[in-house]
């Protein structure tokens, strides 16, 4: 066992935290090595002196005053903590809020799409839609007035002769001519 090694273990030896084998080894070494023995004695004197150190007593009046001061300083702490908690950013709450917002946005988008589709269908069935898309060169199947006007009436409300082609519009009777 080297000199340095025993020195390192003197503290543990003094505190009695070594196992019996190590204690016996240190015992033997201390008996044989004067340098280690001196070091151990200095350590023992030091620790014994340190144990005797006492703090001053500032008196009962100081300690009574300390209790009062601490009592005053801790009075509003619960309210402060409650306020801090209510203002604090909480990731879990933020995540929940974000999820709700995403769901809300999805529902609004679906509603909008449903409205748009139904509006599109409704416009497809209206005459103006037919005219507009006919005029713009839309190549789809146009709905002709004959499809929605009562039988025997043209677009201006004129009677159509049974012989004429139902799809043929009599322009001479149109309003504004």
């Amino acid at each position: 066992m080297t000199y340095r090694h025993t020195t390192y273990l003197h503290g543990d030896y003094l505190d009695g935290v070594l196992n019996p084998d190590e204690m016996a080894q240190i015992d033997r070494h201390l008996k044989a090595c004067e340098k280690c023995r001196e070091d151990f004695e200095r350590l023992r004197t030091l620790t014994a002196t340190l144990r005797r150190i006492e703090s001053p007593d500032p008196g009962d009046a100081y300690f009574d005053n300390l209790v009062d001061t601490i009592s005053l300083r801790t009075e509003g702490i619960e309210d402060e903590q409650t306020a801090e908690q209510s203002l604090a950013f909480r990731p879990a709450t933020a995540r929940r809020t974000l999820k709700v917002l995403i769901k809300l946005a999805a529902v609004i988008t679906l509603l909008f799409m449903a409205f748009y589709i139904s509006d599109f269908n409704r416009k497809q069935q209206s005459p103006h839609w037919s005219e507009n898309i006919s005029g713009s060169g839309y190549a789809g199947t146009a709905i002709e007035p004959a499809d929605y006007l009562p039988a025997g009436l043209n677009q201006a409300g004129s009677q159509i002769s049974p012989d004429s082609n139902q799809n043929e519009i009599d322009n001479s009777t149109d309003i504004g001519q």
Binding site: R42, L46, T47, T49, L50, I53, E54, S55, P56, E78
Partner: protein, 189 residues
């Protein structure tokens, strides 16, 4: 006593302010004593004592096991005292003269000695210890105080300092070695 403290801690955790006041009364002297040994003046020891209990009040929810309340108290006090030492480092603190202090506000050696020569020796030894301890890094100094002056076990010091027991052993060994070197002439007698 330990059961009483554990009961008071549980009551305090449930919001009982009276229980907190009782705990302050039980631990105020211990906290002040430890703080004084680390910061070595009444004004800072007072600050550490006040702040320790205010922090305990704020953080009592963090204490999961009421039976470790004492370690919890020591940890908060030690950490605050170490922080204060670091803040004061490099700054000249005007220390009041001994005669200006209320009563005998200084460290003493407990032995009742009547022999004037021995009294002087004790005073010189204490002054040398204080001077040597002041030169230690704060964590080594706190470890030395908790273990060698307060007499706490290494396991408890490790809990207070929030470090492995091996670190406590190492810090203690270094601190003691430095003190042995600086106090050589006093310890050899």
């Amino acid at each position: 006593m330990t059961d009483d403290i554990t009961r008071l801690v549980s009551q305090f955790q449930q919001g009982d302010r009276q229980a907190f006041t009782q705990l302050v009364k039980v631990f105020r002297r211990k906290v002040y004593s430890l703080a004084f040994k680390i910061v070595l003046n009444h004004s800072d020891a007072d600050e550490v004592s006040q702040e320790t209990f205010v922090r305990i009040y704020r953080r009592i929810g963090q204490l999961k096991s009421p039976e470790y309340f004492e370690s919890f108290v020591y940890r908060i006090a030690t950490n605050y005292a170490i922080d204060l030492l670091r803040k004061r480092k490099g700054r000249t603190v005007a220390m009041p003269k001994e005669s200006e202090l209320p009563g005998s506000i200084q460290l003493t050696l407990s032995e009742k000695v009547t022999d004037p020569e021995k009294l002087l020796e004790n005073k010189q030894l204490l002054a040398a210890i204080v001077k040597a301890a002041e030169e230690l890094p704060p964590r080594q100094k706190a470890t030395l105080i908790l273990h060698d002056i307060e007499g706490l076990a290494k396991e408890e010091v490790a809990r207070i300092m929030n470090c492995p027991e091996a670190t406590v052993r190492s810090n203690l060994h270094i601190a003691r070695s430095k003190l042995k070197k600086k106090l050589g002439k006093y310890l050899a007698e």
